[in-house]
């Protein structure tokens, strides 16, 4: 069942086309990843879907309601967490939850129950009376998520929810996202952490306002990386990247920390003679430079996206 149907959505700011005629569907209960570089149009799209921005043209059905014609009904069925912390810093945790819960019409014992749940997931039990502005970023984000979903909306929009937090907090946050998804809510999340994208059921990638790829992480890897990926561990990654990028066999070379991912032009079976030749040639070429270690690896989403984006340039 479709939870969100986006049809030819476009948003222009003056001459600048922020979102350019994109269409996609999101299914009920899935964790849907919306990926793209900064300025690619992610936030603009999410704001249109939430009724904060009016589309220039096109439409979307969110939970069955048109964002253009029936934004009031859209708003009743969604929760939204912006990339900027947007609860009231000068209210206490409880006051914030009372306020936002109340706006969604929660009251009495249901409100209390949902509040307890929100406090629980944000790790703030018994801390309801502290001023929200004094919380650390990790707590704030989980509280914001709690406030955004305490009315149990059908769809939750999370705009870069894990920006600026440490890996442990990020992991905790994703556990929460899974918990929410298990409750049957559809989760629409934008991120630029590609390791996070691996947790999504389905992903779309946009670049300069255009949709350039969509599918599950596995499908994307299958579809866009049809060739072997080698990981080359070396000390001077920059020098080695330069050495390898002009070789006949290499399609794309990118640096990943202290290793290099080299996407070859073809798919080779492991232990095939051709692959051995390439590996040997790499060793020889870089031998003077460095002592390298070469492994065949499964492509990551990062490989997919760097490859996709580079192909476009």
């Amino acid at each position: 069942m479709k939870s969100i149907e986006v049809k030819n959505l476009t948003k222009k700011f003056g001459d600048f086309i922020s979102v350019n005629d994109i269409s996609f569907d999101v299914y009920k209960g899935e964790i849907f990843g919306f990926l793209g570089a900064n300025g690619a149009g992610k936030s603009t799209t999410i704001k249109m879907l939430c009724g904060i921005l009016e589309p220039t043209s096109g439409d979307a059905l969110v939970s069955g309601f048109s964002i253009d014609k029936d934004p009031e009904n859209v708003k009743k069925n969604i929760g939204y967490m912006s990339q900027k912390f947007s609860l009231y810093g000068d209210l206490t945790v409880n006051e914030n939850l009372n306020f936002f819960g109340g706006i969604y019409g929660l009251e009495g014992s249901i409100l209390e129950k949902r509040k307890d749940w929100a406090l629980n997931i944000s790790g703030l039990e018994n801390k309801g009376n502290i001023l929200t502005s004094t919380l650390s970023v990790g707590f704030k984000q989980r509280l914001a998520l709690g406030a955004a979903v305490m009315h149990e909306p059908k769809i939750v929009f999370l705009d870069e929810p894990t920006g600026g937090v440490d890996p442990v907090s990020r992991r905790k946050f994703w556990d929460l996202i899974h918990e929410i998804s298990d409750k049957g809510m559809t989760v629409f999340v934008t991120t630029h952490y590609l390791d996070e994208a691996e947790f999504c059921n389905r992903i779309i990638l946009i670049n300069a306002g255009k949709l350039i790829a969509s599918g599950s992480p596995a499908e994307l890897k299958e579809e866009f990386i049809e060739s072997t990926v080698l990981e080359i561990i070396c000390d001077d990654t920059i020098a080695v990247t330069e050495l390898l990028s002009d070789e006949d066999y290499s399609q794309n070379v990118s640096v990943f920390g202290n290793s290099i991912h080299l996407i070859l032009k073809k798919k080779y079976s492991e232990n095939s003679e051709e692959l051995d030749i390439i590996k040997r040639s790499i060793s020889e070429k870089t031998g003077k430079q460095d002592k390298v270690k070469i492994n065949t690896i499964l492509p990551s989403l990062e490989d997919v996206f760097l490859n996709l984006l580079e192909r476009r340039e």
Binding site: I52, K75, Y80, K84, S86, Y88, D90, L91, G102, Y104
Partner: protein, 376 residues
């Protein structure tokens, strides 16, 4: 209704946690009132005067005694020449210089016209004209005294025939203190600051921090947001009116002659337009700084200058006088001075009140529509 209550409740909690707001709403009006009560004093209690008496005669001393006896003139300087007198005026030590020529008494005795020279420092036109009024008054009395003496000496009876003697009564503000005139208008100024400045700041703050965006995503309706934002400031407005009136009554002894209830009703009607302006400022400002500057320079300053609070409207050029009809504060100042000083009520003030109401309704409607459009 429930949502509006929730919103108002939220606003008050935020207000109570913000000591700055607290100061602005509760302390600032009192401080302003006290300062203005003492500082905005345009009454001239006495005039510093320099005298160059060339005559040094009985008559010249008599005239000077009369002047000093009036209590308005204080002779700080008796100069021995004209230059010193000029210098006293130049230095600003005195506001007025009196030169009595050496033939003053002789002329009087010989039944000729006697001249004296009076020089004013006109840099403060208001003061100079008041002082000149005082002097003319004294000179008139002095002249009629001389005339009477001459009549007597010629064997005629002292007579006041043919003279018109005014019996002046000053109503509403019998002691002619500017304070009584100025202070009631403070109610208007305070309301302007609370309802224009603070309302716009409070709304823009939500936009700046991002909570406005969060609110837009909820099912809350724009009108609920507007009412929820404006009601708390209306209440704060009333709180400060009560404060101002109390200080006026118990500190300065200015009583409200008319009905206090009617004053509250009028204040509410006035607040429709100022809240509307506050809302409007919030729709054209992205940051709190912008809101602050816009409301201070584009709204509040013109209001104060053109309302008749600072300068009398009658003495403005005609074109600007027409402009003042667009200033809500003008009507409110007329109303509040009427109620506080003259004890006027609805039957005398309904025209101003109606104008104020129509203006308020128009401004509030336009701003609300703009606010709604900005949200969607």
């Amino acid at each position: 209704m429930k949502i509006i209550r929730l919103f108002i409740n939220k606003e008050f909690r935020q207000f109570l946690r913000d000591p700055k707001m607290f100061v602005i709403v509760l302390i600032a009006p009192i401080v302003q009132l006290v300062f203005l009560g003492y500082a905005a004093n345009r009454d001239l209690n006495y005039v510093n005067t320099a005298v160059y008496d060339m005559d040094k005669s009985g008559k010249s001393r008599e005239l000077l005694r009369d002047m000093e006896g009036s209590g308005f003139f204080k002779f700080n300087d008796f100069t021995a020449n004209y230059d010193d007198l000029e210098k006293a005026l130049d230095d600003g030590r005195v506001l007025c210089g009196i030169v009595i020529p050496d033939d003053f008494e002789k002329n009087i005795m010989n039944r000729r016209t006697a001249d004296i020279q009076i020089i004013f420092d006109g840099s403060d036109g208001n003061k100079a004209s008041i002082a000149s009024g005082y002097i003319l008054n004294i000179l008139n009395n002095f002249s009629s005294e001389i005339t009477a003496e001459i009549q007597e000496r010629s064997g005629l009876k002292r007579s006041l025939a043919g003279m018109i003697i005014p019996e002046t009564r000053v109503w509403y503000n019998p002691n002619l203190t500017t304070r009584n005139f100025m202070l009631p208008s403070i109610v208007g100024l305070i309301l302007i600051i609370i309802t224009i400045n603070m309302t716009s700041l409070a709304i823009v703050k939500e936009r700046e921090v991002g909570t406005l965006e969060q609110l837009i995503v909820t099912p809350i309706r724009p009108y609920q947001m507007i009412v929820g934002k404006l009601v708390p400031f209306t209440i704060l407005g009333f709180v400060s009116i009560i404060l101002v009136l109390s200080v006026m009554r118990f500190w300065f002894g200015i009583e409200v002659k008319g009905s206090v209830t009617f004053l509250f009703v009028c204040s509410f009607v006035f607040m429709l337009s100022t809240l509307g302006l506050g809302l409007f400022v919030s729709t054209i400002s992205r940051t709190q700084q912008q809101a602050m500057i816009t409301s201070a320079f584009l709204v509040i300053m013109p209001m104060i200058f053109l309302s008749g609070f600072a300068f009398p409207i009658d003495s403005m050029p005609e074109a600007i006088q027409y402009l003042t009809y667009l200033i809500p504060l003008k009507y409110f100042i007329t109303i509040i001075r009427g109620i506080v000083l003259k004890g006027l009520g609805f039957s005398e003030l309904w025209k101003d009140l109606l104008t104020l109401f129509l203006m308020g309704a128009a401004i509030l409607t336009v701003s609300s529509l703009r606010f709604r459009k900005k949200l969607e």
